[in-house]
Symmetry: C2
Subunit: 321 residues, 2 copies
């Protein structure tokens, strides 16, 4: 199958909102008058971001989910995306699963595939996504203020636990492994929550490299520090509720520095707690208050009684560390 | 050097037109009211689209040039782009050269780098570019009409000749090789010409995979055939003027099916010849009339006297052929 047949069979569908989709030199998008365009690119590499033998349907889902998660973190409404794909060979089974997983999630969010590129090479998936947001309403990393609450959505740490299990570092009961693996391979982008938090959250980002490392981006850009209730964060982890016994270090590593969570971490004024909870309710997404923004620099971990914990160096996952 | 330092050092510059650049979950772009957004993605893979040891400055230039060429083919004005980069390792010499070549061309076109991604993996460069175009004025592949002239910009075939020389298939005198190699490694995107052809050209695309193969996309989408004066096309090749003696087959292969030209092929009504020439003059870009759109299907090659040539199968370069 040639490049053009491949695109026609798996990645071409009638355009809905776009003015022109796959098949010309450029796609053409309509952007509603007065809206800003939010743009993000993510590149996923086999062996680094996913196992080469992962279910292609899950991979298709995740490839778009990580990009939708960036729009969510900006409070932007998904519009469209491009897909550039480097494939070692044409594997129709793989392409069918990948495109189904990808397009099913795209449909859920009304986000259409408008163009891209395919080529032969080591497996690499690069998606660039477009959303729209009214000027001044995007959620930025730089808006946290001293005294703001710090919140996270959903559950943290389970994706990393699944990864550790797949790498043989930890043994999980089958049911728990299944749940955790779902979090690793099929994350849920918090798009509805990001939209609901416009005008409420003072800053936001998505947790992709580990909570503490990612949170430090907000703190650096907002020129502030933070106090984080480690126990409150630990309680967000699904596996923690299972009765499973693991070393404390491992729990903390997963939940504080695990990565691949694709949850939102955000700040909001303490006076806006009711609004945050109402936004979470409307988005049908659980949120947990895990700390507050402080003067100074860096993150201090505290226990449930607010007492300082000796913090290990939880290095965020850095792609060239 | 970590991922964030790498981005800060080589790929972060103050935003000009964008509302928000590198460093948040999304970049934010302003799109002028009423304009459509033209979007294109290209992925370049080491060993397939370029030699791993190519001058990184040239590679930076070419990576953006191929995307600017897609905007040119749509008649869109460049706005901004994202860069996703997979690197085997952090090589500062390479990064410096690559970013300089990339950003120098970006500056020439007022096209700013607003975001992207970096990761570790086999060398892979994915750029997504954004431009704007008034609704209804984009140049499409589908607009050619029977009787239209067929034109190409600039010179064709020299990039392929350089590639053949680098692969040891042909020997070129040093001066000629230098000129041809410049065409292969540093193509000039015809952005000004694309803009000048709005309202004049009936269809357009950029020649990246070889003239005949690319032209067939216009013809299929326009439900037409074409007659091409092979000799007129051959005369566009720079090397053809050098007195170099090569087999006829090789000349034809380079110019008709070579690829990597990044010139525009376009159609325009025969009555618009003066307008085409004026547009080319204003864009300071040479154009050559090479044929006409006909009834039926497929491309017929004719000689300078309009007599049919026995056409070999000039397969366009297909990435999965």
């Amino acid at each position: 199958m040639g490049e053009f047949d491949l695109i026609a069979r798996y990645f071409t569908r009638p355009v809905r909102r776009a003015a022109l989709g796959v098949g010309d030199d450029c796609a053409l998008l309509r952007v509603e008058a007065g809206m800003q365009l939010a743009v993000s690119s993510d590149m996923l590499v086999a062996g680094r971001h996913f196992f080469e033998d992962v279910d292609p349907r899950h991979l298709g889902h995740k490839s778009l989910a990580v990009n939708l998660s960036d729009l969510a973190a900006s409070g932007a409404k998904p519009l469209a995306f491009t897909l550039a794909l480097s494939l070692p060979s044409v594997d129709e089974h793989w392409l069918q699963g990948f495109s189904q997983g990808l397009l099913a999630l795209a449909d859920q969010h009304g986000c259409e595939l408008v163009g891209g590129d395919t080529t032969q090479g080591p497996l690499n998936i690069c998606i660039t996504i477009f959303g729209e947001v009214p000027p001044g309403q995007a959620l930025l990393r730089s808006g946290a203020r001293v005294g703001d609450d710090i919140w996270v959505s959903g559950t943290l740490g389970d994706a990393r636990l699944a990864l550790d299990a797949m790498l043989g570092k930890v043994h999980l009961p089958p049911d728990l492994f299944k749940v955790a693996r779902q979090r690793l391979e099929c994350p849920t982008p918090r798009v509805a929550l990001g939209l609901a938090l416009r005008g409420i959250a003072s800053s936001a980002l998505d947790v992709s490299d580990g909570l503490l490392g990612d949170l430090s981006h907000i703190l650096k850009q907002s020129l502030a520090g933070a106090e984080i209730d480690a126990e409150a964060v630990l309680q967000t982890m699904q596996a923690r509720q299972s009765g499973l016994s693991l070393p404390d270090d491992l729990w903390c590593q997963c939940v504080l520095a695990g990565g691949d969570d694709y949850e939102l971490a955000f700040t909001a004024p303490a006076g806006a707690r009711e609004h945050v909870l109402a936004a979470a309710h409307s988005a049908q997404t659980r949120v947990t208050r895990i700390g507050r923004v402080t003067e100074g620099q860096g993150i201090r971990l505290v226990d449930a009684r607010g007492q300082p914990l000796a913090r290990q160096r939880w290095n965020s996952f850095d792609h060239f560390a």
